[in-house]
Symmetry: C2
Subunit: 168 residues, 2 copies
């Protein structure tokens, strides 16, 4: 499989990584969620080349994750804002951040606190089941082949290993 073919895979993780899995892209999105909107501020904060940054921003716009909005007319200047589709990446980003807060910090603790506006408290994200509301971890979930898998051409590399196609 080539990286460029990820979006053809019958796998929602591969397809998502086709959009956000490039190096730097998730850090660009981190900055978007922190309120960064302008090219120069992304550039200054990330310290990557303008070429790489422009490419990643362009791709995110093409995928509908960011949208360009004019903030000045003469000369035209545009800033980048998260779309609804982009905002829905928040659970994934905050989950990655939370793992880092737990496993990649030194004795000083987490660099950033997330405050839940609703209750006003410092929070960490907890993943629960959409149906029953109970917390779910890796051991609480099993996978089954879904409708979108059945017609997938690539039987040689199915998303679900054979021994997982029945309940374990």
């Amino acid at each position: 499989m080539r990286w460029e073919e990820l979006d053809q895979q019958p796998c929602s993780l591969a397809r998502t990584l086709a959009v956000v899995g490039d190096r730097w892209t998730l850090l660009v999105l981190r900055d978007c969620f922190l309120g960064v909107r302008r090219f120069d501020e992304f550039e200054r904060r990330l310290g990557i080349t303008r070429h790489v940054l422009a490419d990643r921003l362009k791709k995110l716009v093409e995928h509908g994750v960011l949208t360009k909005v004019p903030y000045q007319q003469r000369p035209l200047r545009e800033e980048y804002r998260l779309t609804e589709r982009g905002l829905e990446l928040h659970p994934a980003i905050i989950a990655l951040v939370s793992w880092g807060d737990r496993h990649m910090v030194d004795q000083r603790g987490a660099p950033i606190q997330h405050i839940h506006k609703g209750c006003g408290q410092a929070m960490r994200p907890v993943t629960v089941c959409s149906e029953c509301g109970e917390p779910v971890g890796a051991r609480d979930v099993r996978v089954e082949v879904g409708e979108g898998w059945r017609d997938a051409a690539d039987e040689a590399a199915p998303p679900v290993p054979l021994h997982h196609r029945t309940t374990r």
Copy 2:
């Protein structure tokens, strides 16, 4: 900033990406969560070179995300299993999958269904606040500088933009 320096950043996302942000690493982990354990099966499913696969597995073992367990003594053969630290990446992976299920599927729907063993129903992950239990999205959270940020040397590229250091 260079990619190799990510783990030095005062940012839990950057540090997490230093572990799992390399190309193919999240797809290796996807397969781990699907029950794949052996080198040849990773290789067959991912279709990447043995060199790249070996490198990614080695790095995940070094970071304590996977552990090597012998399954045969003569000759010694080892398989890769998720550690507790690795299992805790599940919320991030399932959140990325869920975004793909929502935004990157055709009319056939999701390739894989996640069944919550506890309630038996097909589920999607919902992110809730650890303190009050209410669902949280991007607009429900604000960030504050935490303990781990204050001593960070790199003031030039702080994780929190200046205009976010106070409540918005």
